[in-house]
């Protein structure tokens, strides 16, 4: 059995290393790793094809696919440009207000939509606004990446780790609103204030001609009004159903796929164009990771980690949760938070099966995996995408700049979250 543990761990660690070092595309790496894991499992007799299939969490895949389809329909309608231009007008060109408005719009959108999509759709308009104002876009772009990661923590559908945790633990959409959302609001406000302070020099430059910004008309940015209304209405109904999903006894995945189907029938877009905007790489990556981590579990790797943790001795439950926040945050600052979450979930389940009170640990994982992504320029997909976008401008975001802005935000977020975690521990235990 120890041979299985060793080789299965080797496949997983090697795959993580390839993904981390960007030597190979993450979807290709994960697919190859998943196949190797099944081959190893069949040779050593610890993992079957049926087990591999059962390891895939179709709740997560379905929820992601449905939301991706909705966004794919919404994206070309111009709604995101509308919101960004509106935010710019409200700020009337005052840099601090522009930071607060654009950051908050991004956070609010990414509570319900994919963080990367939100950041990618708001960022181009941000660059536009900054260029016509004649100011550097860097503070605003960093704020958008950071706030999209923070906003994503607030709801069950906000970020893949939340979906994964909810699917494994049975935590509902409303649990997120009562446990995660308050923490996110605190982190959201404190991060904006911190960014306002860190970028105080850039934000003190008053744009010479805010009139150009005021001459932008948000209404003109909507390219397809009918589609925009239809998809927004469907999305609104879906969000209301999310509130009640545990009462009407349907999974969030079903609501998401159902909403996508309704919107597709109502809008009847060119389907080839729509499916092209779905991020299939992410879905393949997730599926393959599930198969790989299923292999780790079947080989006994995760049980060994559970024994290791229990062997460390009796750490108070509160401290153990705080520790998990920082471990998850540290890991997700350097590696994608999805493999971390998928690997830590069976460990937490194992601890629970051995009698540990794991309710609060789920929240520690959600907070750590979510806020940790702000630690480095490669910590989350949103950071990577925004940094790549900024390379196409005259003022690219560098890793060094990120370490002076995103990293402090991550450290302060996790510190605040730890304090709140200790204070709210009785509530999280429920």
């Amino acid at each position: 059995m120890s041979l299985a543990i060793g080789l299965a761990s080797l496949i997983f660690v090697l795959s993580l290393w390839l993904i981390f070092s960007e030597k190979l595309n993450r979807s290709i790496t994960a697919t190859a790793g998943a196949v190797l894991m099944v081959v190893l499992g069949k040779l050593l007799g610890f993992y079957t094809e049926a087990q591999a299939l059962a390891a895939v969490d179709f709740n997560t895949i379905g929820l992601l696919l449905g939301m991706m389809l909705l966004v794919a329909l919404l994206e070309p309608s111009g709604v995101f440009q509308y919101l960004a231009v509106w935010a710019g007008r409200v700020s009337r060109g005052r840099p601090a207000w522009l930071l607060i408005m654009l950051g908050s719009i991004t956070a609010a959108l990414s509570m319900f939509l994919n963080n990367v999509t939100t950041a990618v759709l708001v960022a181009p308009v941000t660059i536009l606004i900054c260029e016509i104002l004649g100011i550097s876009a860097v503070p605003y772009l960093v704020a958008e990446a950071v706030l999209s990661n923070i906003g994503g923590v607030a709801t069950l559908v906000g970020d893949p780790p939340n979906i994964l945790v909810a699917s494994a633990s049975g935590i509902t959409f409303n649990d997120f609103l009562t446990r995660a959302l308050p923490v996110v609001v605190v982190v959201w406000i404190s991060s904006l204030l911190l960014l306002r302070f860190l970028f105080r020099r850039q934000l003190s430059v008053r744009p010479a001609n805010p009139d150009a910004l005021l001459r932008l008309n948000p209404a003109e940015t909507i390219t397809d009004r009918a589609t925009a209304w239809r998809v927004l209405l469907v999305l609104g109904v879906a969000i209301m159903l999310f509130f009640a999903h545990h009462i009407i006894q349907v999974s969030p995945a079903f609501i998401s796929i159902g909403a996508a189907a309704a919107a597709l029938v109502w809008v009847r877009p060119n389907f080839d164009d729509t499916v092209q905007r779905v991020d299939w790489g992410v879905l393949i990556f997730f599926t393959a990771l599930f198969v790989m981590v299923g292999g780790l579990e079947a080989a006994g790797v995760l049980a060994a980690i559970v024994r290791l943790i229990e062997g460390v001795g009796a750490i108070p439950a509160v401290m153990f949760g705080v520790l998990l926040i920082w471990v998850a945050a540290g890991l997700s600052a350097v590696i994608d938070n999805v493999p971390i979450t998928i690997a830590l979930i069976p460990v937490i389940l194992g601890l629970g099966a051995d009698g540990m009170q794991v309710g609060p640990l789920w929240w520690a994982l959600v907070f750590g995996a979510g806020f940790g992504g702000n630690g480095t320029i490669i910590g989350s997909s949103a950071n990577i995408v925004i940094a790549n976008l900024s390379k196409k401008t005259h003022t690219p975001i560098t890793a060094e700049l990120w370490n002076r802005s995103g990293l402090p935000v991550m450290l302060v977020s996790c510190a605040l979250t730890s304090v709140l975690y200790v204070l709210l521990f009785p509530l999280l235990t429920h």
């Binding site: 440009q81 231009v85 960022a123 181009p124 308009v125 660059i127 536009l128 260029e131 016509i132 104002l133 004649g134 100011i135 744009p207 010479a208 001609n209 009139d211 150009a212 910004l213 001459r215 932008l216 008309n217 003109e220 940015t221 390219t223 976008l389 196409k392 401008t393 005259h394």
Partner: protein
């Protein structure tokens, strides 16, 4: 008819050692849209277009936002200038690679090459690959058209 019969012979060019600022000055004084860039032997090594120069002043958002029709006032971008250090760079950093045609090549061959390489102007060279002229799509195209009229001499 050959390319050398319809090309412009007195072509304005720029040496590859020139700066972007000086090339911009030459384009401005001569009101041309394109400058062949020549090495020390007078051979074309690239081509600098007016649009290459203007790309230095265009806003970044142009490549990021699908339709900029809703931006009625470009604000600060409208009056922006490339930085002095950008203008001090060599033309070789901004020029595009170019094709050339020989003065004695046929008109349709020259025109076909321009279509395939998606260029609007082509430097014309002699047997020693030295620049002798430049021909635009209009120069070559109208020369081709001139053979269509009934009065045109049969070859």
């Amino acid at each position: 008819m050959q390319v050398k019969d319809c090309m412009k012979g007195n072509v304005v060019s720029v040496p590859s050692s020139a700066t972007i600022a000086s090339a911009a000055g030459i384009i401005l004084r001569n009101r041309v849209g394109v400058l062949p860039v020549l090495d020390e032997h007078g051979k074309p090594v690239g081509i600098l277009q007016l649009s290459d120069l203007l790309s230095l002043a265009l806003p970044d958002f142009l490549n990021l936002v699908a339709d900029v029709d809703f931006v009625h006032d470009f604000g600060a971008v409208e009056t922006s200038r490339p930085l002095p250090e950008v203008l001090a760079r060599r033309v070789t950093e901004l020029m595009q690679p170019t094709i050339t045609v020989e003065g004695d090549s046929g008109l349709l061959r020259a025109y076909a090459l321009m279509i395939q390489h998606n260029v609007l102007d082509v430097p014309v060279v002699n047997a020693r690959e030295e620049l002798v002229g430049i021909a635009s799509r209009v120069d070559i195209g109208t020369a081709i058209l001139s053979s269509w009229s009934p009065e045109a001499k049969k070859p």
